[in-house]
Symmetry: C2
Subunit: 163 residues, 2 copies
DNA sequence: CTACAGTAGTTGTAGCAACAACCAATCGAG
DNA sequence: CTCGATTGGTTGTTGCTACAACTACTGTAG
């Protein structure tokens, strides 16, 4: 019987706010993208990852890793994106088990069109209310939490254009 | 044609980390609760809100507000919780359109049993990696973001025992 | 060269959430 | 008091995600 630890009032307060953000933020991003571009956030993120990749091409497995999805989930989503003509599949020459997902020109156009609105929402809801100090603190604190949630840093790594 | 604004490198970096946390944290909480208590995070949160309410009773509408759910979603969930005997419904005397959701003794036992494990996960994944300064910064930054996401402070308000 | 383990991906199914349509009770204006 | 609008809640449908089973290919050990 270990005494169950509890949170201090300050920790509880911070925790409640974090959980509120975690609950509310996805919905906000989701509805903006759905309304303005007809994409779910996951679809947008998938297309964005492809758009940054060399040749706009990625193996299913590594695309799944970058989007933090199971292969099964990604497969279903790529099927839907393929039906809409935003992505196409291609058998991989080197390893015939593998499949490459490739962003089509229509897909590229779609991400390019969706990005400004999405970025605008991010700015409005998260960045603009923060000072430069806040942003630095956010970066540091989230970094610490990610050390636990994502120790192998699958979901990080810098880039330039999207998200 | 307004020049689309973009994020600075520092902002982008912080943003990516926040989005990673937002993606990863729910899954972590979800699986711990599911594994140890057979509850989804939403179910746990619903029961927790009821357990803190006067008489462990809440109108469907205000419970929906506190859990950030639509009435439709809450209705389905309460139906499932009712079938498991954790919650019961009762017609409201004052307003006969309204329904009260009430935590049963079995429901109370369930939350009490689930809470330590849940809190342990919160401590391990979010609180323990942070210093006291980090916690204060987290509180401040999330507070600023919530001003935008939840201006009417529906999802805040202090309390003692849960979550 | 075959047998077996591991890797890459797809597909079927079950459960939950979003949306919309719906019913019932209440409120408010004339 | 009664007709329309609003509020409170439930139910049916659709779409997406998780999980599990399955196919197909690769590589390696005997």
């Amino acid at each position: 019987m270990t005494e169950p630890r509890w949170l201090t009032p300050e920790q509880l307060c911070a925790w409640k706010k974090l959980i509120a953000v975690v609950e509310l933020l996805p919905g906000t991003l989701e509805s903006q993208l759905q309304r303005d571009s007809g994409l779910s956030h996951f679809e947008y993120f998938t297309l964005a990852m492809l758009s940054e990749a060399p040749d706009r091409t990625l193996r299913m497995t590594s695309l799944a890793a970058q989007t933090n999805a199971t292969l099964a989930r990604l497969s279903h989503v790529v099927t839907r994106l393929e039906k809409r003509g935003l992505v196409r599949r291609e058998a991989c020459a080197e390893d015939r088990r593998a499949t490459n997902a490739i962003l089509t020109p229509a897909g590229w156009t779609t991400v390019e069109a969706a990005a400004p609105g999405h970025v605008g929402t991010v700015l409005a809801t998260v960045i603009d209310p923060l000072t430069a100090t806040d942003v630095a603190d956010l970066d540091r604190v989230m970094g610490r939490i990610l050390e636990v949630l994502d120790p192998s840093h699958v979901m990080v790594g810098a880039s330039s254009t999207d998200d």
